[in-house]
């Protein structure tokens, strides 16, 4: 599908274009927003008691920014929407109750703006070489100038800029604090969408605009991405193992999970890209559920530190069970969505003739078991700290949406037609060349 703004035909006018890749993304973003909002109602009431109007307005702005990035077919438009969503995100993060939220938002702002500006430089170079900003048009014209250093620099700037946005190791430093101190609803939403959209843009540029031949043969991009992905998987999981603040724990786990997605992409096979996109989709589901569960825990207990949730699983079984089940999906236990994507990733690695990657994937999965298990053990098998107020089970207005999210994790682990089919179609579109 293609829509022309103001009826100007591309490449002169701005074009919106929907194909297999961003259709899946758009579905994911709007779906996550849809399923999170019922949960957000109570959540926002608890965390942001006054001035909710601007808060929701900012949220919708961020949502529309993300949708815009996804659907547009114009490179500069991507930048504008990236900034729209980022700016509203900074403000949303600053709504967190802890004053450290301000610092986290500021840091994210600095890093995010640098990333976006890098991206802008890259687009500027592309425009200088081709005289167009339409992605499809770029893809057609770039091969003529592919040997130019400027085009190489453009790709480098774009990858680095987006790497910042998608928290690719070692450009992830903004992420843990931003996730940890943002309001819970925002954390859940961002974790499920923001980094995913940045990854989508990266895919779009690497595969559609630059074409895989250029990205991976003219430059050692695959090796770079694979190294960083593995480093992110290992480092993120490793740090998460020792983290006692659960929101930061999940944030570091996100860094690791981004590594899985990028790893899939770096294999440069249709199966690998499909695995990356599939994991992108599934990870959004699990992180939305996990952060929603964590938020629910926070509202009832007032803390998400490991020491303070000790023994609470017995007092709020439904919430903690939801957390544990979503955690299973994160680990990649069969029957969950997380399993399908890890399975595809491993098979893709084997097909690509890189069996040693299995060792790393399995090892990081083991680390994931360890850090999820610490939570489960603390919640059920540790004694409640002396003198702690015993919490009640969360209200239904939080529990029902939470369980819907958890159920989605299992639904997409069992009925894989939508996510697997969508990811495979998307990968075919990307590898196949122009949209």
């Amino acid at each position: 599908m293609s829509y022309h703004f103001g009826n100007w035909p591309p490449p002169f006018g701005i074009e919106y274009r929907v194909d297999a890749v961003n259709a899946l993304l758009a579905l994911l973003i709007s779906g996550v927003a849809l399923f999170l909002l019922p949960w957000a109602k109570t959540s926002v009431n608890l965390e942001i008691p006054e001035r909710q109007g601007p808060f929701y307005a900012l949220f919708l702005l961020a949502l529309s920014g993300l949708m815009g990035i996804t659907l547009t077919g114009d490179a500069f438009n991507v930048f504008v929407f990236l900034e729209i969503s980022s700016l509203s995100t900074y403000a949303l993060i600053a709504h967190g109750q802890d004053r450290r939220a301000l610092k986290a938002a500021f840091r994210y702002l600095i890093m995010g703006t640098i990333g976006a500006t890098f991206f802008l430089i890259g687009i500027g170079f592309l425009y200088a070489m081709t005289g167009t900003l339409n992605m499809a048009d770029l893809a057609e014209r770039l091969p003529e100038v592919r040997d130019s250093n400027v085009v190489h620099a453009a790709l480098a700037f774009i990858v680095v800029g987006l790497g910042l946005k998608l928290a690719l190791f070692p450009l992830h430093l903004w992420l843990p604090n931003a996730y940890a101190f943002a309001p819970n609803f925002i954390t859940a939403f961002l974790a499920a969408t923001a980094t995913k959209v940045a990854l989508y843009v990266m895919l779009r540029f690497i595969f559609t605009v630059f074409s895989p031949e250029f990205s991976f043969t003219a430059m050692p991009l695959a090796a770079v991405l694979m190294t960083l992905a593995i480093a992110g998987m290992v480092a993120g999981s490793w740090v998460a193992m020792f983290e006692v603040n659960l929101k930061r724990l999940l944030a570091y786990s996100s860094v690791a999970q981004v590594g899985y997605m990028v790893l899939g992409v770096s294999l440069v096979t249709a199966a690998g890209v499909a695995a990356g996109i599939l994991h992108l989709f599934n990870h959004a589901l699990m992180k939305a559920a996990l952060f929603a569960a964590l938020g629910t825990i926070y509202y009832q207990i007032g803390s998400v530190r490991l020491t303070e949730i000790a023994g609470m699983g017995r007092h709020m079984p439904w919430t903690f069970t939801a957390f544990a089940l979503a955690g299973l999906s994160l680990i990649g236990v069969p029957l969950t969505a997380g399993f399908t994507s890890k399975w595809y990733l491993v098979i893709a690695a084997l097909d690509a003739g890189q069996p040693w990657l299995i060792v790393i994937i399995m090892a990081t999965s083991l680390l994931a078991i360890y850090y999820i298990w610490r939570v489960v053990e603390a919640a059920w098998f540790h004694d409640t700290p002396e003198g702690a107020a015993l919490p009640n089970e969360a209200p239904l207005s939080l529990l029902v949406p939470l369980w819907v999210l958890v159920a989605l994790n299992f639904y997409f682990g069992l009925d894989t037609r939508l996510n697997v089919g969508g990811a495979e179609a998307a990968a075919r579109t990307l590898i196949g060349g122009a949209p």
Partner: protein, 121 residues
Amino acid sequence: MELLGHYNYYVVVILMMIGLYTIIARGNLVKKVIGLNIFQTSVFILFISLGKISGASTPVWRDGVEVYSNPLPHVLILTAIVVGVATTSVALALAVRIHEAYGSLDDDELRGSHGPDDSIT
């Protein structure tokens, strides 16, 4: 000639480095914002330079002019400037809130209050 002819690009690179250095090296949050602005401005200049065609006139339709400058980069940069202004305002607003909450704008002092793991940049 060739070297001097591209002097605006050298300016871009120098400005960009100044901006990045300021962001990284300065502890004061407002100075970081200033650095960010310089950094962004350098990119604006880059874009505008791209649109310049030597000997061309302003892109307004009139008789007797054959070569126009490319107007598109200007339009883009107009948007980017708006984005930059918005970024700056959000950043400054955050800085004000941080000052209210912590009583300081210096990164080192902020860091001291919460241990090493949550410094800024």
